[in-house]
Amino acid sequence: MMTHKALKTGGMGEWLLADTPDSAFQAWAGRAYLGLMAFMKNRLAVLGLLIIAILIIIAVLAPVIAPYDPVETNIGNRLQPLSFTHYFGTDEMGRDIFSRIVWGSRLTLYVIGLVAIIAAPVGILVGTVAGYFGGIIDTMLMRITDIFLAFPKLILALAFVSALGPGIENAIIAISITSWPPYARIARAETITIRNSDFIKAVKLQGASALRIIAGHIMPLCLPSLIIRVTLDMAGIILTAAGLGFLGLGAQPPSPEWGAMTSSGRTYIIDHWWLITMPGTAIFIVSLAFNLLGDGLREVLDPRSDN
């Protein structure tokens, strides 16, 4: 009731910035609104977010946007330059490159989405548990983390894919396995600074279990730096996926994966530049967008800039 009244009389802005919120929802909304305002001030980050939003729209509407079937070959129409019928030209099998890039955005989102869903929770769980309990648990978990960190990411992913067999799902698993250790490190460092603060002591004295403290009190404070790191890592994940695709260990032909496209286009780089340039540019723009977004999020979410 109260919230409705506030909405009508004071308008949205006043409701969001109210000093005395009437509900937990309003309090969170106000907080999110202030964060959004701060984020909007960073033009480049907004640009990054915009590019990612466009990418998502393209992926969702791929069947509508793409003029041709991405995998249908037409040998008679191969290696056509840029024109109004084929915006980005055609490749060595006569497939429309624009359509392939549009459909390829789905694969890209699929890869980064799944990697984030797998790697980030594993990282935060390992990190907070190790940081909170310390001692032998910490030592064991962190040494395992160190083993994963000791190998270069792409080499380790290569080894896993070779063992599991090539394919996009295996590429995702391989990238996830190699991405979580840095997240665990970050979460552990944050946890160690948080676990001795008075508000954790207070909830301990109230008899809260370790699980409750980690999940309800420590993890929410580790999330911001983790979200920033994951966003900044997205670029690297895209590049690793593209790299695996390029080496023939990721998505298999004829699926329109951007990395695989650059790989198959490299033999034609001198005479038919668009084969490699178009997917390469797509990789570049999306990676850049994630980096810009990550930088913007850092300014908004970083707990150290909280006042």
Partner: protein, 258 residues
Amino acid sequence: MIAVENLNVFFGHGQTRNHAVKDVGFTVEKGESFGLVGESGSGKSTVLNCISGLLTHWKGRIEIDGVRLMQTRNMAFCRKVQMVFQDPYGSLHPRHTIDRTLKEPVKIHRLGDANNRVARVLDDVGLGAKFRFRFPHQLSGGQRQRVAVARALILDPEIILLDEPTSALDVSIQAEVLNLLQDIRREKNLTYILVSHDLAVVSHMCNRLLVMNRGKTVETITRNQLKSGAISEKYTTQLLVAGKGYDRTAIDQFQDFR
């Protein structure tokens, strides 16, 4: 109600081992407010942390209601003993609303009726409903400390441990929080142990106090002794003089007590 005997605490190992609390003992009656006074490094907060169970590697005997406490504490202990911390900025979770902070203990102990309990306890500390859904950063230092008191009260404890509850606050706010603490103690017949470096605050709140220096007990005195100046220990006298403000001749006579 509370009895502490031969309490010893060591920090560190080998060469860097530090005997932080040496054979400290005292008793507190039910409904009493007992003060622990000392300068930094005197071990006064360490004693409090042993009683609360935040520190586990102590030796000695701590009894509450005649029951000897072990190193680990159970849920019933949590309902009986609560604590208020010094820094109002560090003792509230920065991303939880006041409502969530206060509901947490109710949920942990499955007491039910969380909404009414929160409303009642906010009333008890003089904050009222309009603060309920704010974040800590939207409150002043004094308001945060009231929330910390409310959090300690929501489980209806019998003992509250106060670790320098007002030393981070402005004097006018300190007066308000001290008044609140006294009202609540009288109303609910609570037992307090108050740790402070400020003799005036302790003498305002407590009838008996223990003076500590470098982990050792200096003496246990009553408020009346403090008022009349009937103090035998030089260390306490020096603390008393120092609390009265800047006096050039008195300062030259200060000693370093070991």
